[in-house]
């Protein structure tokens, strides 16, 4: 496997791969080349339907197809899948709990140059509010493939969040195991826990190394399934480390930071500090300076971890 692959590429490849085994159809809204559903379209042209630039219609069409027993993948950019078509996702797919898998790509600020209108940093918050919606935010190409398979095998609506930018492959090893709804502890740690999702998982691992050099033992947990959340792994970490930091390429409102705060507050209150996009819109630019600008960095995770430790001691 290549060193760096965008999760959207892994998504398109997985659709084409699993299309041989599972009988699903794929819809897109004029973004197949970008969402990578075109990879599936090329292999299964008769099971692919372009809906044109009409995302709301696409979601309700997907729901209608699903009522007949077919599994459907419906893709667009996260901004339009979760944002523009929120109400169709809620009422046509979520309320009847239909077997529609929403493949949302170009999530977060790593969309880059297209800027704020296309940088969806609220999709996790929106999708979390829909009862029965499963939400998966994979960290790399290996996890993205596993997430697609889990979505196919899961009965009910699933929101899959993929990125535009090529990201390091971190799980390309034999003992990688994906279980829907289960977090994964990636490092041992006793002083503080860093809970990360998506592209922030790799940064969390880097942050743990930096902290280790300063004598701080950080536990890193990867949360790929945002909903249903793995409460057990979070409560155990809160009890055993007593301080938490969350890291996500999403608004700090309503996403991973919120869900971890909710679980920890209700079960084992300890300090939880959040790394994510503060209450702001995105901006055009190259990805590295954007990540700096919004504090989605190893150094910010390290600094928040130290703050959490201080709060714990106080």
């Amino acid at each position: 496997m290549a060193d760096r692959i965008a999760t959207r590429d892994a998504y398109g490849n997985a659709l084409a791969e699993f299309g041989d085994i599972y009988d699903f159809v794929v819809l897109d809204a004029d973004l197949a080349a970008a969402t990578k559903t075109a990879t599936f379209k090329k292999k299964f042209p008769h099971r692919f339907f372009d809906c044109g630039i009409a995302e709301g219609n696409m979601m309700s069409v997907a729901a209608g197809i699903a009522t007949t027993g077919k599994t459907v993948f419906a893709s667009s950019f996260a901004m339009f899948a979760a944002g523009r078509a929120f109400e169709q996702v809620r009422n046509s797919i979520g309320y009847p709990h239909l077997n529609v898998k929403i493949g949302a790509t170009h999530a977060g600020i790593t969309v880059g140059e297209d800027g704020a209108t296309h940088q969806c940093i609220e999709d996790l918050a929106l999708m979390r509010s829909i009862p029965g919606m499963t939400i998966i935010n994979p960290a790399d190409a290996v996890e993205a493939r596993a997430a697609v398979l889990a979505a196919i095998q899961h009965n009910g609506p699933v929101y899959l969040r993929f990125g535009r930018m090529a990201v390091p492959v971190i799980f390309d090893h034999a003992d990688y195991h994906f279980e829907l709804g289960k977090g994964a502890q990636l490092t041992e740690g006793t002083d503080v826990t860093i809970v990360a999702t998506g592209i922030m998982v790799e940064m969390a691992l880097e942050a743990a190394k930096v902290l280790a050099n300063e004598g701080i033992s950080a536990r890193v947990i990867n949360i790929h399934t945002i909903k249903p959340i793995d409460k057990e792994i979070l409560i155990t970490a809160a009890k055993e480390t007593g301080a938490m930091v969350t890291a996500e390429e999403h608004s700090i409102l309503g996403g991973l930071g919120s869900v971890v705060s909710e679980v920890v507050c209700e079960n084992c209150p300890v300090p939880v500090l959040r790394v994510g996009v503060e209450d702001k819109f995105g901006h055009s630019g190259k990805v590295p300076p954007l990540l700096e600008m919004y504090g989605l960095t190893v150094s910010n995770i390290v600094s928040k971890a130290k703050c959490a430790l201080k709060l714990k001691k106080a």
């Binding site: 044109g52 729901a63 046509s92 009847p96």
Partner: protein, 275 residues
């Protein structure tokens, strides 16, 4: 149409109107006007046109029906009860916490409901999805949907119309209930979506215009719809909102309000007089 058949359909439509009034009266809320306007169309669909089985509501080869104007659920529920999908007694529990009859159609809770609807514009798209699925699965079931004239102000209606024509969904029949009124007033004054016929033709539909209360015209329209190949069909049904209850007919105020006890008695008497 033979007189015997016409009498039978008129009786069923009257029963459905009774069910609408009973349900909305008992609930003290709901949408009688647009339910009454589709009584004949929904009667014909469930008792002549569609291939459905009340004993097997999820039968996979059944024809599908989507009430895109989902607020007129009382008409659909009355038709389903009349057809035998559930007991007629349930209609009086409309919108109550101990009933499965939600304010708007719920496909998981209500036997015979093929799609959850209520948010306007979404049902037509779902019907398109069902029709497309039939093509993909090489099944010959047909899909019917009723869309409100006010509802056609929703942009999604036209997104769906584009989709239906683009994918040549000739197994899809969209009935536009042109009763002319919406909550805030006459549709033509609020935001005029006419001409429906020319617009739908331009979108690629085969369009049939009828009187939506005339069973002969309804029958001919559905026959014609089945003969059309390569394009979807729209039936534009001119109707009277509140049809069958004199004081509700063509009155904006009866879009979404329930009759009081006195009005209920008058409405029931008027409907029963036609039976």
């Amino acid at each position: 149409m033979e007189q015997v058949k016409l009498n039978r359909l008129n009786q069923i439509a009257a029963q459905i109107r009774l069910g609408i009034i009973e349900g909305v009266h008992a609930a003290k809320s709901g949408h009688p006007g647009g339910s009454l306007s589709i009584a004949e169309i929904i009667t014909y669909l469930y008792f002549e046109e569609m291939n459905v089985d009340p004993k097997n509501p999820r039968w996979e080869d059944r024809d599908r029906f989507v009430l895109s104007k989902g607020h007129t659920a009382p008409a659909l529920y009355a038709a389903l009860a009349e057809k035998g999908f559930f007991s007629r007694d349930e209609l009086k529990k409309l919108r109550q916490v101990d009933s499965f009859l939600q304010g708007h159609p719920d496909m998981n809770g209500i036997p015979g409901v093929d799609m959850s609807t209520g948010s306007l514009g979404l049902g037509f798209s779902a019907a398109c999805g069902m029709a497309l699925a039939a093509k993909v699965s090489e099944k010959d079931y047909r899909v019917y949907t009723i869309i409100g004239d006010g509802e056609s102000q929703e942009g999604q209606i036209w997104e769906a119309a584009m989709f239906a024509a683009h994918y040549k969904l000739d197994n899809l029949c969209a009935i536009f209930d042109w009763n002319g009124l919406q909550i805030d007033g006459p549709v033509a004054e609020i935001m005029n979506p006419t001409p429906y016929d020319k617009k739908l033709e331009a979108f690629g539909f085969h369009v049939i215009s009828i009187d939506g209360h005339d069973f002969d015209q309804i029958a001919v329209a559905f026959e014609e719809a089945k003969s059309i190949k390569g394009k979807p069909v729209a039936i534009i049904a001119k109707t009277i909102k509140g049809k069958g209850v004199s004081f509700m007919e063509n009155q904006v105020g009866w879009h979404g309000s329930a009759p009081n006890d006195e009005q209920y008695e008058i409405a029931v008497a008027e409907i029963k007089a036609t039976m």
